[in-house]
Amino acid sequence: MNGISPHRIGALALRYLYLLRSSRVRIIELAYWPTVQMILWGFITRYLASHSDVLNQATGLLLSGVLLWDILFRSQLGLSVVFFEELHARNLAQLFISPLQPIELIVALMSISLVRTVLGVGIAVLLAMPFYGFNLFDLGAPLAGFFLNLLLMGWAIGLLVSALVLRYGMGAESIAWAAIFALAPLCGIYYPVAILPGWLQPLAWALPASYVFEGMRAVLLDHAVRLDYLLYALLLNAGYLGLGIGVFLATVHQARERGSLLQSGE
């Protein structure tokens, strides 16, 4: 295999930035849902804080949960939705007859996912400060580890979902939205994993996000930094991301065999 070219990755990332820039509605939409979620959960927090010892002790628990969850959700969506754009635009054939390698496409998708996540969640994080006096950055240095792990997990799911859609067509597009929500109850976003039934807990502990949300609660409730959680999450992410990349590359190879790159579209 030839070397990976930063120029080609940059070229494709530029294509995605052009696309983002071409519609103000898209930019607004990026920040819209995280902001709405933040506002909603902010009010819920205010209400519950007066009735709950736990929330009284750490008022940022729900808001941190919802904003961290959005990092995972936006990073997954930021990757798979942009890939779907290529399918909608019937542009995959053009890309794959250019010198672009599939792995470079993956890196470009990850780059734009990062940009979209930072834009979308970043605005909600900033707005939470004047709205509720809540600062996500109060989580301190562990926030960087949480962000990285959620981003990686989002990319892994995004790649698996993109591979599914490449294989089965745009009819499978709804999986992009459904996949991550199927995992949400297991991740312990708003409650500890220990709340889950015993038989579900091993499944929860197989998800990197569960370690992130447990780590978040450790910081907010116990003022403890659980490096072990971050490390477990990172190890799991290495496996899932490897799987995501492998499945995506195998699906592209299969598409070359089936001839579906020429017809890929709606």
Binding site: H7, A11, L14, N91, F96, I97, R256, G259, L262
Partner: protein, 250 residues
């Protein structure tokens, strides 16, 4: 010593289960030639072009392009090739200039602005550089697609029905651009077309396909003579209908 063919295909096959889209074809194209791949719908033209581009993996057979085995080493040859087809789109929401900039960078073109300005002049597309690609007419889109295909000044240019859906004037301009590019650069052109007058005008070599097999090859005049017809249109009909050379066309 004679230069080896720039494209060499040996016993190339693409089967989809029982369907033999391409069924053991052999051909060679010399550097600087303009070759047409002809045949009716489903003859195997697009499948062959897709395999040459590495977009489709052959079931078996050998492809060598610019001395490299494809698809194994497609990354080595793709920067030196390009492709245009009215059936393969560019992103609709990006402007023409944005589309061409992205592809210029993907192909590693140096001095992107200068190259875009040259192509804009040559193909007369400067006026709509800032318009979204999706807002262009079919003729304008075809010119932009050709500009994309010429960005990297390819040594091999593959074209799938380059003048389909164009009015005669625009189609004629496209052909002039292709002839001019071929003369200036010495590039090799391989085109699939249903327009026989275009083929007679542009091509010095023809490969006729039927049901995934090569049924005739030669220069246009040679084929017209061999089939005893007055033009390539009639030769095409003979071959598409399975009539052998020398038989009477009903």
């Amino acid at each position: 010593m004679a230069e080896p063919p720039i494209i060499q295909v040996e016993d190339l096959r693409k089967h989809y289960g029982p369907v033999r889209a391409v069924d053991g074809i052999n051909f060679a194209i010399d550097r600087g030639a303009t070759c047409a791949l002809l045949g009716g719908n489903g003859a195997g033209k697009t499948t062959t072009i897709a395999m040459l581009l590495g977009l489709l993996l052959p079931t078996s057979g050998q492809i060598r392009i610019l001395g490299e085995a494809v698809p194994r080493h497609r990354q080595r040859v793709l920067p030196r090739m390009n492709f245009s087809s009215p059936y393969v789109d560019l992103p609709q929401r990006l402007t023409v200039a944005e589309n061409l900039t992205v592809y210029a960078r993907l192909y590693g073109v140096r001095r992107v602005r200068e190259r875009l300005a040259t192509l804009g002049r040559d193909l007369d597309i400067e006026a709509f550089f800032q318009r979204p690609y999706g807002s262009l007419s079919a003729g304008q889109k075809t010119r932009v697609a050709l500009a994309k295909a010429l960005l990297n000044q390819p040594e091999i240019l593959l074209l799938d029905e380059p003048t389909a859906s164009l009015d005669p004037d625009t189609a004629d301009r496209m052909r002039r651009i292709l002839i001019d590019y071929q003369r200036r650069s010495g590039a090799t052109l391989l085109l699939a077309s249903h327009n026989m007058s275009e083929v007679e005008r542009l091509c010095d070599q023809i490969i006729m396909l039927r049901a995934g097999r090569i049924v005739a090859t030669g220069a246009p005049r040679e084929l017209i003579h061999r089939y005893g017809r007055k033009d390539m249109e009639e030769v095409f009909l003979d071959i598409a209908r399975g009539i052998q050379s020398g038989e009477v066309l009903e």
